[in-house]
């Protein structure tokens, strides 16, 4: 069995209550941090742990914390990003639902470190039932003296609130999230200034993902050394992976970073192999925005090495033959999947979720969706395929926030690795009229090997 830093007690009955959570060692990190460590010591500890942001970008958490303007006389804020809306990602939901106190404990230690007197958990509005779970747990934590004035008799005080969104993927982008928390439209801000200097209410703010914050108590409890014993190099510790699609056992799994992808897909401890005895066709490994990879390239890199679940190995081969670990949304497709249709659903998603502020994303996402819709429904032209590549290229890098890139990468990569399938849709429009076109008769193609 691999190490479980986050989900060790997830199946303990009533672990969502503070008493059971404490019986299992919960809130020890709050005691240790507030009573025996200074904020600088904690920042160093988190730096040495090599914890990287689990929200998608993988930015080192300790380093991010050290950017926080702690000299400013303005209030400072910690905001937890629980907006989780990237298709294929549902780990934060699982964590908050099952272990609300783990997140709260992480929030207390992190807020103490950053000198925040108020902290918010911004959670997507659709998770309203989890708002209830969190609010109940927060109430328990106040009653037990972990929140509120003079926590555990120290002179540190903290208020923690849950703030629901209302349906907008873009509010996962940290500055859009802050706008939304201020009661505005979720339009991402122009950077600089970064939140660490001017974030919520123009005050120094750190935004971290649920899983990043929930990893902090472990680091405090077992020390950074023990934490980064797990993992490989700069991919330290464990990571929650949301596994979905055509596998036998979809669900949330905590893996040690460094696990071979092949083991993750086929072992019974995790996905349990492809469903219905079918063959693997492709994987989107880190949430819908990362490049899709065909079966051969997800199992082994272009250099012929085993691909591992680490930030570095996933990215091996760059955008030509690699992908990204991203948010850990692992979407598996079997041989009957139509890559074009799957891509169209992604394009529709980004079109629907673009905030509309900047022109390349506002106009480009809609354009790509419409062209993909045509191709998928048998109304495409051959030059549409290059048009898509070109539109994606023109969005990428030219927008205010990375949603533009997130919309462009899936299109570019799907055409890079599965161009014949797009061409097939154009050449044989009558064969793709049935929405389930490849289910009865999988699309046959030669295995694609890309030279790295």
């Amino acid at each position: 069995m691999s190490k479980k830093f986050l989900l060790e007690h997830v199946n303990v009955p009533r672990i969502e209550t503070i008493n059971v959570y404490r019986e299992k060692g919960g809130y020890a990190a709050v005691e240790k941090a507030l009573k025996t460590m200074t904020p600088d010591q904690i920042i160093d500890e988190v730096k040495f742990s090599d914890l990287r942001g689990r929200g998608g970008a993988g930015f080192p958490t300790g380093l991010k914390w050290s950017f926080m303007d702690r000299k400013s006389d303005k209030p400072r804020y910690l905001v937890c990003n629980a907006d989780e809306s990237e298709p294929g990602t549902f780990k934060d939901r699982y964590l908050m639902e099952k272990l609300p106190h783990l997140l709260i404990e992480g929030m207390i230690v992190s807020s103490y470190t950053l000198g925040a007197k108020a902290a918010y958990i911004y959670i997507r509005g659709e998770y309203m039932y989890i708002v209830r779970i969190l609010e109940k747990a927060i109430e328990e934590a106040y009653a037990a003296g972990y929140l509120g004035k003079n926590i555990l008799g120290t002179d540190y005080s903290l208020d923690l609130y849950v703030h629901p969104g209302a349906g907008a993927y873009i509010c996962g982008e940290e500055t859009a999230l802050l706008e939304s928390l201020e009661g505005k439209r979720g339009n991402p801000r122009l950077k600089p200034p970064f939140p660490a200097i001017a974030g919520l209410y123009a005050c120094p703010t750190v935004v971290n993902n649920v899983e990043s914050i929930a990893s902090v108590p472990t680091i405090i409890n077992i020390t950074a050394d023990k934490y980064n014993d797990v993992g490989i190099g700069k991919s330290a510790g464990t990571k929650l992976i949301s596994a979905s699609g055509h596998i036998n056992k979809p669900g949330v799994y905590e893996i040690e970073l460094g696990l071979p992808v092949e083991d993750f897909i086929y072992s019974d401890e995790y996905c349990g192999g492809i469903w219905k005895g079918r063959k693997l066709k492709a994987v989107v490994a880190g949430g819908s925005s990362v490049p899709i990879l065909p079966a051969n390239l997800i199992i082994t890199t272009a250099k012929g090495e085993k691909r591992l679940m680490t930030y570095e190995s996933m990215a091996d081969g760059g955008f030509v033959s690699g992908t990204m670990l991203g948010s850990g949304g692992f979407i598996v497709m079997d041989e009957t999947t139509c890559i074009v249709r799957n891509l169209w659903t992604f394009a529709r998603f980004y079109h629907h979720e673009s905030c509309g502020q900047c022109s390349p994303c506002r106009e480009g996402t809609g354009w790509m969706e419409k062209v993909l819709h045509r191709i998928e429904h048998g109304h495409g032209h051959m030059n549409d395929i290059d048009l898509l590549v070109d539109v994606a290229k023109k969005i990428e890098g030219n927008t205010i926030c990375p949603l533009g890139d997130a919309a462009a990468w899936p299109v570019a990569s799907a055409i890079r690795h599965f161009r014949e399938e797009f061409e097939y849709h154009v050449k044989y429009p009558e064969k793709v009229k049935d929405p389930k076109h490849f289910e009865k008769e999988p699309f046959e193609r030669e295995a694609l090997m890309v030279n790295g």
């Binding site: 209030p75 989780e84 809306s85 990237e86 298709p87 294929g88 990602t89 549902f90 934060d92 939901r93 108020a118 918010y120 997507r124 509005g125 659709e126 998770y127 309203m128 039932y129 208020d159 609130y161 703030h163 629901p164 969104g165 209302a166 349906g167 907008a168 993927y169 939304s180 928390l181 201020e182 009661g183 505005k184 439209r185 979720g186 209410y201 949301s242 596994a243 979905s244 699609g245 055509h246 979809p250 669900g251 949330v252 989107v284 819908s288 949304g329 979407i331 497709m333 999947t337 249709r341 799957n342 659903t345 992604f346 529709r348 998603f349 629907h352 979720e353 905030c355 929405p435």
Partner: protein, 171 residues
Amino acid sequence: MEEVKFSEGTLALVNKIIRRYPEGKQKSALLPTLHLAQAEFEGWLSVPVMDYVASLLKIKPIEVYEVASFYSMYNLKPVGKCLIEVCQTGPCWLRGSDDIVEHLEKKLKIKNGETTSDGMFTLKTVECLGSCGTAPMLQCGADYHENLTAEKVDRLVEKLRTSDKRSSYMR
């Protein structure tokens, strides 16, 4: 027209929510307050309701319209008593969400986006709800219904039909 006004209980809740944010930042309470308003006033946000929220938070009505029209969970038009939202994004599609939508359309005799003539059901497709591992799925009010099959959907629809409660995210 009846005066738009929150119940005592809700009003107290709104005031409690406002206190979560620093002095003068009461606009932060807008999203939570609109959720409460939608739950209290028949599942959608009419102009008088939005104007009322604006007055409570001391902001301009246009600031409320701008926000309400941005977020997909706010309904700016009346909806059926049960709003059924089926996820249609990639991971759900891989597990058969198209069949679920088709089944619901047949069963309710409406198309996606429509409301049944008795005002009972509105069917809507939505984007990823963070339930991809238990796909296909739908949301009705605060409840997630997961690992759906045609039979499960049938049972759910029958149950909803006889319930006297309006679906709401706030329950």
